[in-house]
Amino acid sequence: MSVSMLLAVVLICAAVFYVLGNRRAIGVSGGDSRQLHSRPNYYGILAALWFAIPAIAVIVVWQVLQGHFLEGGIVDSLPPDVLERSADQVRLVVATIKSLAFGGIASGVEPYMLESAAGYRSAHGFSQTLMSIMSLALGLLVAGTTVARITPQTRARNGVERIVKAMLIACASLAILTTAGIVLSMLFETINFFKTVPLSNFFFSTEWDPRFSSAGRDGGDTGQFGMIPLMVGTMYVAFVAMLVAVPIGLLAAMYLAEYATPKFRATAKPMLEILAGIPTVVYGFFALVTVGPFLRDTGDIMGLDIDARSVMTAGIVMGIMIIPFISSLSDDVITQVPRSLREGSLGLGATKSETIRKVIFPAALPGIVGSILLAASRAIGETMIVVMAAGVAANLSGNPFEPMTTVTVKIVNQLTGDNEFTSPQTLVAFALGMTLFVITLGLNIFALHIVRKYREQYD
């Protein structure tokens, strides 16, 4: 039985146990559900959960362990001369056999492989059958016991509550563990990178020139991995973007929240939010075809030499992209400031704009900073607009009308090239990612600290 089939069977059985639990509860109560501790459907839910949870647990554990044991079986069946080859080649052979077993396309097939594949196939089938039996049997056992033990005093409602709580905890920890996993995977590759390239080369060099993956292998120059031009590019583009987005976004939010009629707000806000739904590559077109040439032509008129691809182009377009993040979230926060504070200020003879500036804005500050932070992290992480609007050349320059590039663009560049995965040319992407992560984390913590210090808390 395939896994998806088995899952379907498990769900059906759980549904059956729901009915059983429900019936049994009504049965033990003598038909009067008021005699029960919980409402009858709670007994059903409890029985269904106690079927599904052990059964699915068995499937998950089995799937994780099965691969390891079955591959061991393949390796054992290989002829001795194959085993003498390098570990990578043995892995290749095993992969070929697996592919053969399920009718996949494989090249370099040898007779011993066919034999192994047949063995693997039958072992796999046996394992799946055993898993199905074990899974259903355990489910039946646990859920059967639960149903058999139902009495009017059984606290099914509390039991369901405990299981729900456990599931919530599991989901929350899954999210946290994933974050930790991402960070760890970056961390290990970063350490690998720094085994071949010195720290000073990466952090303090102003030259970005990673060359090709053959460089450095033959004892020659390993290339220059200075991240400073990239980091400066990232910060520069993000800074220009924030310069565009923060004032426009905040003022738009204030208008929407305080001045606009409810009718206008109801139409304008979703329209503004559409901006956030446009794919960034489309913003890239906009930058490439409209904003870039416009800046260049304007420069020509004023006698300035402005490149169509520049920090300015990318920054302005990125700024437009993140306006809705700031305006929409800030609008929500401003609207949440209690009406009583507004009336208090207006009642003292303050004008609307004085009220906004001196009472509402300080009270809404934490949320506003939160929205700005979210926008900033979008700006720092943005790749597509930069590729199309600011180029891929790693320049270090203070002139916003020259092309520059950012960390994320170079990460894409290094990872999608045809470099070997273990070469520093590829691994530098992880080091860059890690650095960017640490910097944005630092910015977030700093901003939170500032907010906590200056916030005006209302209750």
Partner: protein, 274 residues
């Protein structure tokens, strides 16, 4: 009348000390109707709010007393669907006239709300807010003085003088309400409107606010909405009874509570309905 028309600044420095009511109507309502959208909330209210007296507005919930109070400094302007007809005058000037600056009007007719609503700022900043936005002071020393006298008038100075920098929201409910009264006094209004100022407070804090209202009457004209008839009897000289959007009876507080002319008033003050 001339004492009334002195400008705001000089009144701050030399408050008129006469305690006796001047028998002048500070604010007048003539045929005031209020509509929320299609629904009419007030019907032809005629009332004179006498200078340096406390006027209590009583009546069951939803009778329009708060709505009327909010008309007196045009706080209803904030509500989009609200429409006011009729005449309301302050010192014989129509406050709904196009020439009237609503910001200036609210500086002259201050308001204290049902729930204490101090700004999430320091105690000092709460009081200084009004004088700052109206430019009432020339320097920090004058501002400090306004803050101190306002807090003293509100009976809060002794309790907070050592912690003017701590947040106003950290005070107790009664202290917060007195802070709000001090905040209103700081802009030197001529009339103070109070919308159930004690409904969120315990009896001790309520007693303090009532004492305060007695003292404030010497310098200010006060209109107070209250649900407590004992409170109306204790603090006010004139009482207005509202019922279903109508001003049923208006007169001397003593007369309203001992010898009401309308049987609805009689029923309400004796607790038979409401």
């Amino acid at each position: 009348m001339s004492a009334v028309e002195t400008n705001i600044q000089s009144e701050t420095v030399v408050p008129p000390q006469t305690a006796t009511p001047s028998n002048v109507a500070k604010m007048r309502g003539r045929d005031v109707c209020v509509f929320y959208g299609e629904k009419q909330a007030l019907f032809d209210v005629n009332i004179d709010i006498m200078e340096r007296e406390v006027t209590a507005l009583i009546g069951p919930s939803g009778c329009g007393k708060s709505t009327f109070l909010r008309c007196l400094n045009r706080m209803n302007d904030v509500v989009d669907i609200c429409r006011v007809t009729g005449d309301i005058t302050l010192d014989s000037q129509d406050i709904y006239d196009r020439a009237v600056d609503v910001v200036h009007l609210r500086a002259r007719v201050g308001m204290v709300f049902q729930k204490p609503n101090p700004f999430p700022k320091s105690i000092y900043e709460n009081i200084a807010y009004g004088p700052r936005i109206h430019g009432l002071t020339r320097n920090k020393a004058e501002l400090d003085e306004i803050v101190e006298t306002s807090l003293q008038k509100a009976g809060l100075w002794k309790e907070v003088k050592d912690r003017l920098d701590s947040p106003g929201t950290g005070l107790s409910g009664g202290q917060q309400q007195r802070l709000c009264i001090a905040r209103a006094i700081a802009v030197a209004p001529e009339v103070i409107l109070m919308d159930e100022p004690c409904s969120a407070l315990d009896p001790i804090a309520t007693a303090k606010i009532e004492d305060l209202i007695h003292e404030l009457r010497e310098n200010y004209t006060i209109a107070i909405v209250t649900h407590s008839m004992q409170q109306a009897a204790r603090v006010s000289q004139k009482t207005a009874f509202f019922h279903l959007g109508n001003l049923v009876e208006y007169g001397e507080t003593e007369q309203i509570f001992t010898n009401p002319k309308d049987e609805r008033t009689q029923g309400y003050i004796t607790g038979r309905f409401g």
